[in-house]
């Protein structure tokens, strides 16, 4: 009962309190309506421009998803090579470390020029690079978690290298992969969105947020921000569900 109260009721109470403060500041005190619009104003705008917002959200969501998928595939492949060949691990480690500290969205203008400013490719590549790092780091760690007793068993069964990888090494790494994908999903959405602030085609959530914020249509800008939150949340929940499905029978380490 206490855990239910703590995990469900408490966040709801906090949410309602925040909503109350928000309403108080906007509808009662009328504090700076151009900066903080009331919830009702935002909802009204979302209702009016719902179709366009959804269209733009789908563009950004697709960019994030394509980047996430590409970054995940690449991350798993490179991690598998690094786990298999120590030399490869040594060669890639500095590159990965460098890539991890580069502010990736800063590359957007360059990538837009390289890949053409009228396509979404630059944004997808940015989301892909952002997703690659956590997937690679987690999968590489996961591929090294096989237990000695399991390795002994597979040797006793005279299992080949490929069989051991498919039936032992890879399943052992699965929870690590999904942790990586869960972290990468948020990064991919953020990167895809922020990349839109640096130019390129107007489709997507980024451009309207910038232009409506500048032109004083704050309520609509907030509506777009809400859509961005919804995309991030959806991806996060899906990946969390996948992670739960894979790890539910595993003892926690």
């Amino acid at each position: 009962m206490t855990s239910l109260a703590g995990r469900v009721v408490a966040p709801i109470v906090v949410g309602l309190l925040l909503l109350g403060v928000w309403l108080l500041l906007t509808d009662v005190v009328h504090l700076a309506p151009t900066m903080i619009p009331s919830p009702a104003a935002i909802l009204q705008q979302v209702g009016e421009f719902g179709d366009v917002i959804v269209e733009d959200a789908l563009v950004t969501g697709a960019n994030a998803l394509i980047g996430l998928a590409g970054g995940t595939v690449l991350g798993v492949a490179v991690a598998a090579l690094a786990a298999r060949f120590r030399v490869f691990d040594g060669m890639t480690a500095p590159v990965i470390a460098a890539l991890a500290v580069v502010p990736i969205v800063a590359l957007t203008p360059i990538l837009n020029t390289m890949l053409g400013a009228s396509t979404q490719s630059g944004r997808q590549v940015i989301a892909g690079i952002a997703a690659f790092i956590p997937v690679f780091v987690n999968v590489l760690r996961g591929l090294r978690q096989t237990r000695p007793v399991h390795r002994d068993l597979f040797r006793a069964y005279a299992a080949g290298g490929g069989q051991t990888f498919r039936k032992l090494t890879l399943p052992t790494a699965m929870p690590y992969l999904l942790t990586g994908v869960r972290i990468a999903s948020s990064l991919a959405v953020i990167s895809a969105l922020v990349a839109e602030y640096f130019g390129g085609p107007v489709e997507g959530l980024g451009t309207p947020i910038v232009s409506y914020a500048k032109s004083g249509k704050t309520a609509l800008a907030w509506g777009y921000v809400g859509a961005a939150i919804a995309i991030g949340l959806a991806l996060f929940l899906i990946t969390m569900l996948l992670e739960w499905l894979v790890t539910r029978h595993r003892p926690s380490e």
Binding site: R147, V149, R250
Partner: protein, 270 residues
Amino acid sequence: MTIPATPGAGVAVKAAGVSKTFAAKSGQVHALDAIDLEVAAGEFVSLIGPSGCGKSTLMRLIADLDQPSGGRLEVFGKSASQARLDQDYGIAFQQAGLLPWRTVAANIALPLELHVPSKAERASRVAELAAMVGLSDFTGHFPDQLSGGMQQRVAIARALAEGPRLLLMDEPFGALDEMTRERMQTELARISTETGAAVVFVTHSIPEAVYLSDRVVVMSPRPGRITEVIDVPFGSSREESLRESPEFFAKVTAVREALHGTPVTRADER
């Protein structure tokens, strides 16, 4: 000292002058020295001794999980490595070592998946094995839903999956409570009789070794050597009542004296 196996049925394991040294920081560690041992087909042999006597190492050499530093080791007349490749033995460890993402049935099926292409054949074999270890009602469960004793039964079923003529077991009941342990011993005695497989059984427990074995091999540490071999002529049917019989206690005493009679290591040798 050469220990002759029961004549007739053939030889499962034959070790002649087998030694094993490990490289350690403080120099070389003699884990095993001059091991001569024969295990006949269908025979149940326990290896018993204090920690560090090399009993697990000897089992790992037979399983070809490690290689001997000297001497000759044959399993069914072939090299240990060939016997492993031919899947002549099944193996179980103190840790059940089940794959947590697989159900009981899929865990038992694991070695079959690697060597038996027919899916139907695998399924019927898994059902048979699950029944043998009394887990027919639990084939859909995952390891985290099973008790320690049940997990170990799955591990035993898995070890028996390919009908091996030799079963290698490294303290398989070491992590179980006493009551579960005795029940598992009774079941193992039945299973080993049913399958007719030879068993090399590593244990710390004197009553366990006496209850299960045809012969108990007593080992001493530093370097690991065989100090005595004790015959346990109770035949193949091991009833629960055996545990309370005077003959049983006499053998337990004999093994205990053999263990304690080994030359005590001087403190300055450690």
